[in-house]
């Protein structure tokens, strides 16, 4: 094999969790410790809040610093006001922050000062997650690797780590041109190529660098999410009555996304894996690292069909993102931290009283049959998809393919048992996709060659050189 076997990372070929029911919220096999006395996945769930800088704050460095400081200050005030024992603040960068590493250094420093003050004063356990934006443009030379955009991402990562971030994350975009093409045209081969192959290759490039940066500082490599791909499918699939992308197709993309996002852990990411990665329960089942998730308390950012189910095995509970503005109950950092904070308190009470498995199962059952996308992320099914992935663990293409096939099996079993009902669109889309995927070659090189031939002209942004693939 000429392409994918040049593996510089250790691949997962065995499950860390032997059974799905071993997993529960707040506990992971490999908890993470960070500065400010916080542990993630160590027996308690940590609420997270994330707020997008307001429009106009990008006009100067001073305004951006003030904006980020205000967000941190509001969150800390509310955390103390309602008695939260711990919380995580995440700053997802806007493009201006990542494009100006010196801004990132200063905004991180400003948030660190606020969090540290509250840690010193109240002993509240805090964590500062910094998530630079993936601002690379594939079709603009020199592409994904070594462009000014790419170099700015690396410098910004380092600036955040050097100035006190607890951990670093990213939502990398490799393969997005292909997966966008496939998602909007119902082409499972293009989606598999975009997510399973190109996404995995690009993540390895990105994550080896992030892990090396983190090693130099008291900063942990967090995780990546398939936001650019599987979440695009989920977002476009929308609600039950939307007619853009079938929900079965979105479920297949999610399965492939798990095989892809696992690469961060294989490169050395420790978790908690970033919220927004709805595929995280699958990766937790495989690798045992803690995860962040979002659902019913992320309605400020988008709608999904699994608002409770995503709580079931999470370690950090997030609001995804929200405009920075005033609500009747306070500013949005205050309001949404309160929402995630009280939900985490419920989970922590269950953990303290030995009721965690009951609560986990209730969370799961409220949504399991609401939609195929929810079904496959129920912890028992997430574990099954994990097993499919590690069966072909050494080969990023084959494991993504196998994950998709297992997703299909899980959905079909639930339909046969009269537990889940599909529309004609979902049924046809699943049947034709599975047929296509089953007929794909079992050899990576052959698949890659076929895809390069098939899509180079159709998807003009795609350049195999960005992934070190031979043409």
């Amino acid at each position: 094999m000429k392409y994918l076997v040049v593996n510089h990372v250790r691949r997962f070929t065995k499950m860390v969790y032997k059974k799905g029911e071993e997993m529960v919220f707040g506990r992971s096999k490999f908890p993470v410790s960070q500065r400010w006395n916080i542990q993630l996945g160590a027996g308690y769930v940590v609420p997270e809040v994330k707020v997008a800088p307001v429009e106009g704050s990008e006009t100067s460095e001073e305004r951006m610093i003030a904006e980020c400081r205000n967000i941190a200050q509001s969150a800390c005030e509310r955390a103390v006001a309602i008695g939260l024992p711990a919380f995580m603040l995440e700053q997802e960068h806007v493009s201006q922050q990542t494009n100006n590493p010196e801004w990132a250094a200063e905004t991180t420093k400003a948030q660190v000062e606020v969090l540290e003050k509250y840690y010193d004063e109240y002993g509240i356990r805090v964590s500062l997650r910094q998530t630079p934006a993936d601002i690379r443009i594939e079709e603009r030379g020199p592409g994904l690797r070594g462009s000014d955009y790419d170099n700015n991402i690396e410098e910004t990562m380092e600036a955040c780590a050097a100035n006190g971030a607890s951990d670093l994350c990213i939502e990398s975009m490799g393969g997005k041109a292909l997966s966008d093409y496939g998602i909007s045209r119902g082409d499972p081969r293009a989606i598999l190529f975009g997510i399973g192959v190109l996404g995995s290759i690009d993540m390895e490039y990105m994550w080896n660098r992030i892990v090396n940066i983190c090693k130099k500082y008291d900063c942990r490599p967090g995780g990546d999410t398939d936001c650019a791909q599987a979440n695009t499918a989920m977002f476009m699939a929308g609600g039950l009555l939307d007619k853009d992308v079938s929900h079965t197709m979105a479920a297949l993309a999610r399965g492939m996304g798990a095989a892809r996002s696992l690469v961060a852990v294989e490169c050395g990411a420790l978790g908690p894996l970033k919220d927004c990665g709805y595929e995280n329960p699958i990766i937790k089942a495989i690798s045992g690292v803690p995860i962040a998730m979002e659902g019913k308390n992320a309605v400020c950012a988008h709608s999904d069909l699994m608002g409770n189910l995503t709580c079931a095995v999470t370690d950090v509970w997030s609001n995804e993102s929200v405009y920075h503005r005033q609500e009747m109950g306070g500013t949005t950092p205050e309001v949404w931290l309160q929402a995630t904070g009280f939900e985490s308190a419920l989970m922590n009470t269950a953990l303290q009283t030995g009721q965690e498995e009951v609560l986990r199962d209730l969370y799961t059952l409220t949504d399991k049959y609401r939609d195929p996308q929810a079904l496959i992320l129920a912890y028992d099914n997430a574990h099954r998809i994990g097993e499919a992935i590690v069966k072909y663990g050494k080969d990023p293409y084959l494991r993504a393919r196998e994950a998709a096939l297992e997703v299909g099996k899980i959905i079909n079993e639930a339909v046969d048992a009269n537990k889940l009902y599909l529309t004609r669109f979902e049924r046809e889309s699943l049947d034709s996709s599975l047929k296509t995927i089953e007929n794909l070659p079992m050899d990576s090189d052959q698949f890659i060659d076929e895809c390069i031939r098939a899509y180079s002209r159709k998807v003009p942004e795609f350049n195999p050189k960005n992934y070190e693939l031979e043409v």
Binding site: A52, G56, V94, I135, D180, L365, T423, R424
Partner: protein
């Protein structure tokens, strides 16, 4: 039986989650048997085959029929208007009724565009369209799937869509306005701090004495109150609304102020953001 199965066996699913989509969706149809589609599809060959190729989203079927027609001496404009566009009209009818889904529309759009290119080769120049629209993603923003949908909907609706790509500097947008004199523009953004490009572009256009009947702004973080805080702009809610907005400018000479007021009527459906 483990615990979750025991719990599950006690549940009546109807009290927890109802898949309304399954209850609503009717029986499977063959696209060409739909009465609206029958009314649109041409009866004569080879126009019918060309339109059917587009309707089926089959590039080869459409392209072969187009090539045969052109070799037989048909006028390329007839091939476009009586074949390709009729097929696309049929697709739009099914999409509007909820029988077709986005992938059907995108594949049909691809088939239509291939047929169009082939016809334009014989024509020797670009075919006439209803009008030119310029589409871009705001500077600093790499997220372009929304823009790509907008471009496809515009082309399927008979407009020439100039696709400036993503992360487009404001000056490039201004240059495109000067060059193409569009009847409409669309700008999209996902981040709160990249959508601020829209008012800057409007300001620069005003400084340059340029005017576009309307600029449709949309995308993940974009809100109506933000878009309506500066002139020339209209908040676009769904990608498929775009050709209807463009039509209203061409046919009914609507201004951006009128589109803001009459958005729901123009797109022909209830739009919560505007009601």
């Amino acid at each position: 039986m483990n615990n979750i199965e025991e719990l599950e066996s006690k549940m009546d699913q109807d009290f927890v989650a109802v898949r309304y989509n399954v209850e609503l969706e009717g029986p499977a149809i063959t696209p060409e048997k739909d009465p609206d589609v029958q009314a649109i599809l041409p009866k004569e060959e080879p126009y019918r085959s060309i339109a059917m190729g587009v309707l089926h989203g089959d590039i080869d079927e459409a392209l072969n029929s187009v090539k045969e027609g052109l070799e037989d001496g048909l006028s390329p404009m007839d091939v476009i208007n009586d074949g390709l566009m009729k097929g696309m009209d049929a697709v739009n009818a099914l999409y509007t009724k909820g029988f077709f889904f986005l992938p059907d529309l995108m594949l049909s759009g691809d088939a239509m565009m291939e047929g169009l290119k082939e016809s334009e080769k014989v024509l020797g120049h670009k075919s006439e369209t209803k009008g030119t629209v310029v589409s871009f993603v705001a500077e600093g923003d790499p997220h372009d799937i929304g823009k790509n949908l907008v471009v496809m909907f515009l082309r399927a609706g008979g407009f020439e869509a100039i696709d400036l790509g993503r992360d487009v500097p404001n000056e490039e947008v201004i240059d495109a306005v000067k060059e193409y004199k569009p009847i409409f523009m669309t700008g999209t953004a996902l981040m709160t701090t990249t959508m601020t490009a829209f008012p800057k572009i409007v300001e620069e256009m005003q400084e340059n004495g340029l005017e576009v009947p309307a600029i449709g702004c949309g995308g993940g973080s974009v809100r109506r109150d933000f878009v309506e805080s500066f002139p020339m702009s209209v908040y676009g809610v769904e990608a498929y609304h775009t050709p209807k907005l463009a039509d209203s400018i061409i046919k009914d000479k609507k201004t951006w102020k009128e589109i803001r007021k009459e958005y729901s009527e123009i797109v022909g459906e209830f739009v919560p953001e505007y009601d």
